[in-house]
């Protein structure tokens, strides 16, 4: 009930600031374009590194999305207002984390065609790729939402958020890159399953732990 209320609020807030989503997509697409310049006109190398570039682009864009998701909560201390109603901090956390997850999934799916065009890295296993994007973005949004809450009230939040977040999500990022790479380049040994399982396991840990810690982060 409380989770539904929190999620409804988050989706409404995201809809009202949807122009931000477009800006984040353009940022992600620009990152992918810049990565291709770094490698040069070597089609084989571009294809080989395409999965890593996709996830790096998504990771960089995610810091903007996650940080922005707390902007409206802080401008009039709206989050404090909800906590004082009272609202369950865990419901508020999961509402925001799920909304961020949805947003990052949409962003990830939108960046795939950009990757295909820039790196010639297409695949027919679209459902598997969607599953990897879903699990990978879940791994970004759960700790990302927690750290965005922690850094929302500090001045250097745009710098601090990536500094805190990036080391923590390395395992999930690695598993996402490996699984995506196998989907794009071929998977004769069926290794992608183990990477997907590993990603799922990390997601489970992130989503359970971060939900428990959120109350301590937002309450004094």
């Amino acid at each position: 009930m409380m989770l539904a209320a929190a999620l409804r609020k988050e989706i409404l807030l995201q809809w009202r600031t949807r122009s931000q989503m477009m800006a984040v997509f353009v940022f992600g697409a620009a990152s992918l374009l810049l990565f291709s310049f770094a490698v040069g006109p070597n089609a084989e190398m571009l294809r080989t590194f395409s999965a890593g570039f996709l996830w790096l682009g998504l990771l960089l864009s995610s810091t903007l999305t996650l940080s922005e998701s707390f902007h409206s909560e802080m401008e009039n201390r709206a989050l404090e207002g909800l906590l004082l109603l009272p609202s369950d901090p865990r419901a508020l956390y999961y509402g925001k984390a799920i909304a961020n997850w949805l947003q990052l999934t949409i962003l990830g799916c939108a960046l795939v065609p950009v990757m295909v065009v820039l790196y010639d890295a297409g695949t027919t296993q679209l459902l598997k790729l969607l599953l990897i994007i879903l699990l990978g973005t879940a791994g970004l949004s759960a700790p990302g939402t927690l750290y965005a809450a922690m850094t929302a009230q500090v001045r250097a939040k745009q710098t601090l958020l990536p500094l805190l977040l990036f080391p923590l999500i390395v395992p999930a990022l690695l598993a996402s890159v490996k699984a995506t790479s196998l989907v794009i380049l071929g998977d004769p040994m069926q290794q992608s399953r183990s990477w997907i399982a590993l990603l799922g396991a990390f997601d489970l840990i992130y989503w359970s732990l971060c939900g428990l810690l959120y109350g301590r982060v937002v309450e004094e």
Binding site: M1, M2, N76, L84, L85
Partner: protein, 226 residues
Amino acid sequence: MNDVAIDVERLARRYGRRWALSDITFHVPPATVMMVAGRNGAGKSTLFRVLSTAIRPDAGKASIGGFDVVRHREDVRKLTAMLSHQNYLYDSLTAKENLQVAADHLGLRRNGVGALLEQVALNSRADDPVSTFSAGMRKRLSFARILLQEPRVVLLDEPYGALDPPGFDLVDRVIRDLKSRGTTILMATHNWERSSKLSDMALVLEAGRVVWQGAAGEVMEHEVKG
């Protein structure tokens, strides 16, 4: 039935090395209106934030309806509503949506929202985003949010701030209405004359300490002497 009193005993709170509140002791009986007066920086807002459980005290005790503000945070929050300087509103949402969000989180039906907006004279702007509202209109909407909660204790931090004369009358009306329903009200204000007419008791803070407390009718004499 309303028997919720506020008890504060030797309460203290500091920010860094500076004590914003020290040795604050007072009692507000149930269904009473107490005004809290004092200059800017006297500690009024800090006191209200401690009582609302937004921040914790560094020493002393405070309880609302017998529930300690530190140990029984959830119970205190269920009883209390606060009008803060920060209006707790989402700028990108409309007035109606802001109240609907609060109603959803309180587990209330949304159909009472329209009547509340009418009560604070914002029904004609119900579908406008809060970002287009003046400070006074935001305050009115915050009042509607408080009324939605149907609290037994109300903490009003500068309720007259940013309001126009009709807004003043609205605040007076709301306070009288809440009082008639037995709500205990603590009101921080610079508008001594107006507030003292609505209040039963008064408390004057200076540099984080209580310098005077007594009947609200006598507070104007204190101001004149001070």
